[in-house]
Amino acid sequence: MTGKDAALHLGVLAVLLAAFFVLPEYHSGSLARIMVLAVYAMGYNLAFGYTGLLSLGHALFFAAGMYGLALSMQIGGWPALPAFLLALGAALAVAGAVGVLALRTRGVGFMIVTLMFAQAGYLTVLYFGAWTRGDEGFALPQEVRNLFGLDVTTPAGRYFAALALFAVVLLALGALVRAPFGRTLIAIRENEARAAMLGYDVQRLKWIAFVVSGVVSGAAGAAYALLFGYAGATFAGVQYSIFPLLYVLLGGAGTTLGPFVGAVFMFYLIDLSSGITTAYMLVAGLALVLLTLFLPQGILGTLRRRALPWLP
């Protein structure tokens, strides 16, 4: 990682750290949620933004993490930390298996196959309604929700747990995409046939990228359940596969901070427009159309092209 990248990432983390003490509680609560969603989008960005794998099924991995944690705590009575590790394992297993099959296809085929797997996952959650309580979902009791002695049901505990996860994922993925491995993923995105003819095992690299992407998405799902105390089938639904795609497209695909910028933008767009009108989805939709028309590379992608070529 070059000095500028590290400075930018650490700067953003410092601002987020300070923000908790400055912002009113409503906004710091929103920001905690945004950071978790941004982790999900950062995971998605590794597959889509860096490797060029347009998945429409990442809700499956988000849900694998969410239910991996929530069910092992609820039914198994596990403490939060082992439940979180189990959630990562669940996302790893699901992404590994789906990756093997879905990566046999490409382009539109890949989109359809990932979408179908995620739908199958959604229906599985509904099918086991006796445990998952389906769409209605279930809440995790307050007393079990603490990690390393940190009570994540308080605003401060929740915010700093979200920030810690966000920081780890941002710095780890930031280093990964600058490393030779990440550069090779970008090469695959740019010209897969050429990458193969330079001697890279494209199929294997795509699978690894897909699995890492799925595990990070699963971590976000698990954190969401832990911090906000709820797991429901909505999170396995198709809209939760679309959200990270939107965040990444808005913020800038293939930029380290794009997913966060996109998540902030989208969250507050809906939040602010719903304060003005009940037709807030129309406002949000219009803003999205305008952004895609005039900033096709997203906010940070455009900024990188026009003014800041060093932007990670």
Binding site: R183, T184, E190, N191, R194, A195, A196, L198, G199
Partner: protein, 239 residues
């Protein structure tokens, strides 16, 4: 004669019943510059495509450096020391010239310092050092062809396969290309080429393909004097 680095036996490719290559037996001694020529549609690109694994062979075997590589996927063959440049320019258009070459060098080299040194050396050698920071897609066509050759060099291959490298190059660039090829001592080169000037001046030996079969093989002088080759090119009734 030097040891044979690459050989094929009975290499055949059939596309929907049409034979693009038929039972090609081919031997390439290490260190030689070999040109493959032949009229359009003779099966030259199909042949080298089967050597490097881009095109699966219908039957036949390919042996590289004493090892049967017929069953290996393309990336494994490349990793054994074969470099291949595409007939239709195929660089990473969205990435910088430097990164294009670095990607080619990096798979083999462990440290970033080694990669940097290799990239600098290659860019200097092909004359693109002053364009290292440019986006490859913004280069002129000729420079993209040269970048493609640089990406091959950065792999330090034992066998370098070039599919029509001078297509679309200007005269001065072709002259530089000839110098570059001749300077690559120790690398075995397999060159598909239409420009007879390049072929006659660079190749040690020439293999002529026609209708997917080996028509003739020999030194440039022998090939020039071969009546069958002349017939194939001029289209007389003899062939």
């Amino acid at each position: 004669m030097a040891a044979v680095i690459l050989s094929t036996r009975g290499l055949t490719k059939t596309y929907a019943g049409v034979q693009a290559n038929t039972d090609i037996d081919f031997d390439l001694p290490e260190g030689e510059i070999r040109a493959i020529i032949g009229p359009n549609g003779a099966g030259k690109s199909t042949f080298v495509g089967m050597l490097c694994g881009r095109i699966p062979a219908t039957r036949g075997s390919v042996t590289f450096a004493g090892r049967d590589i017929s069953a290996l996927p393309a990336h494994r063959r490349i990793a054994l020391g074969i470099a291949y440049t595409f007939q239709i320019t195929s660089v990473f258009a969205g990435l910088s010239v430097h990164e294009n070459v670095a990607l080619a060098a990096r798979r083999r080299l462990s440290s970033s310092a080694e990669t940097e040194a290799k990239v600098a050396e290659v860019l200097e050698r092909v004359g693109l050092a002053d364009r290292a920071g440019q986006i490859a897609g913004d280069l002129s066509y000729g420079h993209q062809r040269i970048l493609e050759i640089g990406m091959g060099l950065a792999q330090a291959p034992r066998l370098f396969i070039l599919d029509e490298p001078t297509q679309g190059l200007a005269e001065t660039e072709i002259a530089e290309f000839k110098d570059l090829i001749r300077s690559l001592t120790g690398t075995t080169i397999l060159l598909i080429e239409h420009n007879m000037g390049v072929v006659m001046e660079t190749a040690d030996r020439i293999t002529v393909l026609n209708f997917g079969q080996v028509l003739a093989e020999g030194t440039p002088d022998e090939i020039r004097a071969n009546p069958e080759v002349q017939a194939a090119y001029l289209g007389t009734a003899h062939a």
